[in-house]
Amino acid sequence: MSFSNIRREDASRAVIVHAILLTYTLVALYPIFLIVINAFKTRKGIFRDPMGLPNAETFSIEGFTKVLAKSNFELFFYNSFTVTIVTIVIVLLLASMAAWALSEYKFPGNTALALYLAIGIMVPIRLGSVSILNLIVDLGLVNTLTALVLVYVAQGLPLAIFILTEFMHQIPKDLKEAARCDGVGEFKIFFAIILPLIRPAVATVAVFTMIPIWNDLWFPLILAPGDGKQTITLGVQQFIGQYVTDWNAVLASLSLAIIPILILYLIFSRQLIRGLTSGAVK
């Protein structure tokens, strides 16, 4: 076989590979794209030409004005942001502290405690919902964001501790020993030396913690379904249930929920993949 034959074969193989990848990319993205473009159309435009881009004739933002007027989307966004950010900060702080203690200090029951804290990776916290609701009622926290934060922190800790412990094992011994020789206290070693070192892993853990919380329907539904404490996911669910026949409003509310996540994802996707491929998940 001559070289030109090989090259031609390579080229045709590349065409097939890219055709497969492009097809699947289209399958993954087109439904999202379809919803977003139709959110910017008049009702007529949505039904007459669902696949066309909005043009001068069909462009309209009536759906968005309706959604913003009839429901409290700004508030739902605020609720989701608050719950997600507060949870991430608490999970990252508590999980890195625990992971540091588990990976650094020899104490009786170290392995047992690590296993105990790992149970939650495999067992879904939802199965405890009956008792969680009782607990939240007893604490007087029904319809509060605090209830959601407490549950989400418990939900996020196991995987965060697991990933961070793996990561902390890789921190060079010399660094810690040098600090100890200089008489630096244990707290200061953690906060001044270790925390800055684990920043790349922290970013990965933050993304893994954030996505399920932002997207969750179950706990908002049972713990904080009203009183203006709905998260965006529950807010959209309730709104669409109410305006199911108003296509403009439904499409606009979906787009409002999709667009911020897409922007965040495009910003953080590199971090997410890097975390995965650098051995965070084995």
Partner: protein, 312 residues
């Protein structure tokens, strides 16, 4: 991964060690472990109307598993859940593995762009994904039929989500569409970790990329495939949001899309004329716990151990 293990004796730093571990352990125990155990305890109690909760042994389990009204509902949701899981195993994971294999081909251009785009649906809320597909498949809008028309299959289009025979399968495929990103990401990461020299030797011997993938790479990432499978199992038997968003708590038509998660919700909170019952709800949750535990133990002891031996 080989670790050197913890290095520092804690007796030199008792206070810091306790301070580092206590907050996480307390919140986790209080809001995760205690509710899980307490739910199991509650499943052994019942509250007669107007009375105090009393211990009833396995009565609730007998009701759910053997009472004619409850048992048919429970087993219906169980088998629906098995079908839901089967579609994920047979469609989602093979597609994820194939795409990961293609993406890890050497000298592939735009690999990062493809990967970023393909994973996008995984980032969206299940609720949003449910509504997106509900609109696209709606016969009122008709865009689903138009899309099928492009590939010449318009005649196949029907109100899939509304028919008893096709609703569950349709919802399973919607879920597959969303979650393909998980096997894709995890298996792609595992494929990247394979040392080049293992592959190079085969390439020099004239093996095609496909042969290299099937005979060398795939066997090496089997532990990840097994992990993806158990993650799929746990996720599927804990699913709720998609069915609830598209079909409501009644999981219609005629309970044909009812899975364990929606049954748990209805039993716990009630619906229409049936009152919610926390004790029966806790019983359903405990049964889900047993099913998930069974799957996880099977993975840990039957699959992972065997794979570990195979790898040596």
């Amino acid at each position: 991964m080989a670790h050197s293990g913890p290095m520092t004796d804690w007796r030199k730093a008792k206070l810091p060690v306790i301070a580092f571990l206590a907050p996480a352990t307390i919140i986790y125990t209080l809001f995760m472990i205690y509710p899980l155990l307490d739910s199991i305890r509650l499943s052994f109690y019942a509250t007669p109307s107007g009375g105090e909760a009393a211990f009833v042994g396995l009565d609730n389990y007998r009701t759910i598993l053997a009472d004619p009204d409850w048992a048919s509902v429970f087993w219906n949701s169980f088998w629906n859940n098995m079908k839901f899981f089967a579609v994920h195993m047979l469609v989602q994971n093979p597609i994820g593995i194939a795409l990961a294999g293609i993406l890890s081909l050497p000298q592939l251009r735009f690999r990062n762009t493809y990967r970023t785009m393909m994973i996008m649906p995984t980032m969206l809320s299940v609720v949003i994904v449910g509504f997106i597909w509900q609109l696209i498949l709606s016969p009122v809008w008709g865009v689903g039929a138009d899309l099928l028309d492009i590939v010449g299959l318009k005649s196949l289009f029907g109100p899939w989500l509304g028919k008893e025979a096709s609703a569950l399968i349709t919802l399973s495929f919607i879920s597959v569409w969303q979650w393909v990103g998980i096997p894709l990401m995890l298996i792609y990461a595992a494929l990247l970790a394979i040392p080049d020299d293992l592959v190079d030797a085969a390439v020099v011997d004239g093996a095609t990329h496909f042969e290299v993938f099937i005979h060398i790479k795939l066997p090496l990432v089997l532990p990840t495939v097994a992990m993806v499978s158990i993650l799929t199992f746990v996720g599927n038997f804990n699913a709720f949001d998609l069915i609830y968003a598209v079909k409501g708590a009644l999981a219609g038509p005629n309970f044909s899309t009812d899975i364990m998660g929606t049954l748990f919700y209805r039993t716990f909170f009630g619906y229409q004329l049936q009152l919610g019952n926390p004790h029966l709800g806790a019983t359903v949750a405990s049964l889900m716990f047993l099913i998930i535990l069974g799957g996880v133990l099977f993975y840990l002891f039957a699959i992972q151990r065997r794979l570990a031996r195979y790898q040596m």
